[in-house]
């Protein structure tokens, strides 16, 4: 898939709450093809402390509206700068980068998409693409509390949404791996994105059940294209770049203790 560096235009900025922002970007020409799981490297202008681009996963692509969505948690200098954007601003983006989630060949496959925190972001576009391919995924979304659950109505368009919160303020109380849907449904594939402890727990569950599992990682990176070798993850075939060989890895290929 060809990579581009383009000045995209901010079409809207939706402050979901004090921490999360949904940024929709557009372009004068038709947006290039992007696949679920891929990410964008965004230049943050005008700040010496946000020297490097920020990798942000593709939350959704609306080809009809010609919009690319980014779901951002404003937690550092770079992401806080993104949260300050206004409609009409330009954003220099390198994209689409990295590999993609796996679309099962068997249309009857039951796919579980497990997201935690802002890691839910890439699962929305993946869910949409699965639905386009005749599958109905189940989303299992975990958060600290109800206010950290994001864009639920969007996720519900493409599949069943199951929720856990650590404080029990919405859905089932506990962690994603405690949710009752795991007893109820036998899944053929699990794709997960979120905090590493959560993904490791999901990987352990999948491993113990013999379910194929892939995880999207977010190691600190610089170049975004496999040139600098800064963002490596230890795998059974050596250190691989999360930016180019990932961000999506089959958990069995990683050096994780599962």
């Amino acid at each position: 898939m060809k990579k581009y560096v383009l000045d995209l235009i901010v079409s809207s900025v939706d402050h979901i709450n004090d921490k999360y922002v949904l940024i929709k970007l557009t372009h004068a020409e038709k947006l290039p093809e992007m696949a679920p799981g891929q990410f964008v490297e965004i230049r943050i202008d005008g700040s010496a402390t946000t020297f490097l681009r920020r990798p942000i996963s593709i939350n959704f692509v609306d080809y009809q509206a010609n919009e690319l969505w980014l779901l951002v948690a404003a937690i550092g200098d770079g992401t806080r700068a993104l949260a300050q954007l206004k409609a009409g601003d330009k954003l220099n983006c390198m994209f689409p980068l990295g590999n993609t989630f796996t679309i099962p060949e068997n249309k009857d496959a039951k796919v579980l998409l497990v997201g935690g925190g802002v890691g839910v972001a890439p699962l929305l576009y993946f869910g949409k693409v699965l639905k386009d391919n005749g599958m109905t995924p189940v989303f299992l979304l975990g958060a600290r509390s109800a206010k950290d659950l994001l864009l639920l109505d969007e996720y519900r368009k493409y599949g069943e949404v199951c929720i856990t919160t650590e404080d029990g303020s919405e859905g089932e109380k506990g962690f994603v791996t405690n949710h009752s849907v795991l007893q109820r449904v036998r899944f053929d594939q699990i794709s997960t994105c979120g905090p590493k402890p959560m993904m490791v727990a999901v990987a352990k569950y999948a491993h113990s059940e013999g379910i194929c599992c892939e995880a999207s990682l977010e190691n600190k990176m610089a170049c975004g294209v496999g040139a600098c070798l800064c963002c490596v993850e230890g795998t059974k075939s050596g250190n691989l770049c999360v930016c180019k060989d990932g961000p999506v890895f089959n958990v069995n290929d990683l050096s994780w203790q599962i």
Binding site: V5, G224, A227
Partner: protein, 303 residues
């Protein structure tokens, strides 16, 4: 349109802009963003005689106007390069230069000899300045004897253009430059990264897996420029300048200070098209100042 051609020893570059090792992969990683043939030279990722896994993650920390890295020369070794990577890059229409590192003079010489046999690699850049590996790298580059020993060994097995990349982590970089010139280096490139550190105050731990790393980016540019100026006055061989170059003005500063060519490193991460923009910017500047050739500005600092 000014004449942008420059020479590094016997090596002719179509323009003075090269990419710094470790920041541009092997070239094809950036082919979607820039026309690779418009770049004067591509210096590919550091290559060693034997494969190296590099250091553990985390290998990178962002700093004010720069970044630290401790990648540690991860590469699959020179045989893999010759068999698998070389065929993929040999027809890129620019000077494809291999950065060579090692842990003994013999290692360097053997690695260089294998690359000497590759027709489409007209030059190597000898890395005696990597701050991120224990066994070798910078250990050779911080003493005149160490630097000379590597260049002496390589010069016996390598017959094309030999550029030696110098460490700034020394008391007097001009002494090292003179030592490698005396052993037959065709050129010196400088600076490699400056050794630095960053700390996570919540965890009370270093941000990098091996505690320290090499600082690059615009934060190091004034240091690099000063060293290029000093070295250019101290040696007779061409100097390749690098360290924080982000735009054509930066490149022209280095050339006025005495660099015959320049390398762009960390700036590739900020703008994947920066190389061609710098090349075009140099041309515009030369036209504006009535220079017919870029060689007219090399070392023309009035100081």
């Amino acid at each position: 349109m000014a004449d942008l051609r420059v020479k590094i020893g016997n090596l002719e570059l179509k323009n003075p802009v090269m990419t710094a090792s470790g920041t541009f992969g092997y070239g094809p990683e950036y082919a979607d963003f820039v026309e690779l043939s418009e770049i004067g030279g591509i210096i590919v990722k550091g290559t060693t005689l034997h494969p190296r896994q590099g250091n553990d993650y985390p290998r990178m920390a962002e700093t004010a106007s720069g970044m630290l890295n401790c990648v540690g020369l991860q590469n699959k070794g020179v045989d893999y390069f010759c068999e698998h990577i070389y065929p993929e890059i040999k027809d890129i229409d620019t000077n494809m230069i291999v950065n060579v590192s090692g842990s003994s003079p013999e290692d360097y010489a053997e690695c260089a000899a294998r690359i000497d046999a590759l027709d489409k690699i007209p030059a190597i850049e000898l890395n005696i300045s990597c701050p991120n590996v224990k066994d070798g790298g910078m250990a050779f580059g911080v003493t005149c004897e160490g630097a000379a020993s590597v260049v002496r060994a390589v010069r016996k097995s390598y017959h094309k253009t030999l550029i030696v990349k110098l460490s700034p982590n020394v008391t007097d970089i001009t002494e090292i430059a003179r030592a490698v010139e005396a052993e037959g280096a065709d050129s010196v490139s400088l600076i490699n990264t400056l050794m630095g550190m960053a700390i996570d105050i919540e965890k009370r731990k270093p941000m990098l897996s091996i505690n320290t790393g090499g600082l690059s980016g615009p934060a190091v540019k004034p240091v690099a420029l000063r060293m290029v100026w000093q070295v250019a006055k101290a040696v007779g061989i061409p100097v390749v300048g690098l360290g924080g170059i982000c735009n054509a003005n930066d490149a022209i500063e280095f050339m006025l200070a005495g660099a015959s060519a320049i390398e762009i490193g960390t700036a590739n991460f900020l703008d994947p098209q920066v190389t061609v923009k710098v090349k075009n910017g140099i041309n515009e500047w030369l036209d504006k100042h009535g220079c017919k050739s870029v060689t007219e500005i090399i070392g023309q600092l009035e100081a």
